[in-house]
Amino acid sequence: EDKVVQSPLSLVVHEGDTVTLNCSYEVTNFRSLLWYKQEKKAPTFLFMLTSSGIEKKSGRLSSILDKKELFSILNITATQTGDSAVYLCAVPGDSGSARQLTFGSGTQLTVLP
């Protein structure tokens, strides 16, 4: 059974701080790992990672994958209050010909002014 574990579960920082969110996974047939940001409604897609050691970057957010150690990190530098959200990590499974996402429980990030 595919498994995704995120840590920490909850994080409170002040604006300007840098945070690192962790995601470890166990999956039968690894294809990719995805990061989502969830605010009040549906998750919004951030990154898809398929290769080890290649950093993906979008503004103040960046993410990297380690396929040997089976984990990924999401970094947010110079945090802002608008970064407050739940950050979800997910891996696509492989059940027959269908592929569904297995999500972690998320990291609740709160950025204080």
């Binding site: 995805l34 898809m48 696509p92 269908a98």
Partner: protein
């Protein structure tokens, strides 16, 4: 604009009523999904579909049913709503061959009183 739409956004209904949550996507995606999410909890897959006339149950047992008569439409029905069905329901879609990158709808927050 290509997107995925869910209606209604919020629904408060009495016990025993029949309800249908609507989900439509204009991206031509073959695969569609329904997830259930309680506040602060991870997403759980309840139904998925590979294409027209294909539906499968997901990881989380659910008393709901789904249908896929048209590619773009994937409604979820509860024949007799109960308070235990109170939750957020998220619809998503993806391309058949994608390794990730799901597109989510805005969700329906259901409250059964």
């Amino acid at each position: 604009e290509a997107d995925i739409y869910q209606t209604p956004r919020y629904l408060v209904i009495g016990t025993g009523k029949k309800i249908t949550l609507e989900c439509s996507q204009t991206m031509g995606h073959d695969k569609m999904y329904w997830y259930q999410q309680d506040p602060g909890m991870e997403l759980h897959l309840i139904h998925y579909s590979y294409g027209v006339n294909s539906t499968e149950k997901g990881d989380l047992s659910s008393e709901s049913t789904v249908s896929r008569i048209r590619t773009e439409h994937f409604p979820l029905t509860l024949e007799s709503a109960r308070p235990s069905h109170t939750s957020q329901y998220l619809c998503a879609s993806s391309e058949l061959r994608s390794g990730g990158g799901y597109t989510f709808g805005s969700g329906t927050r259901l409250t059964v009183v």
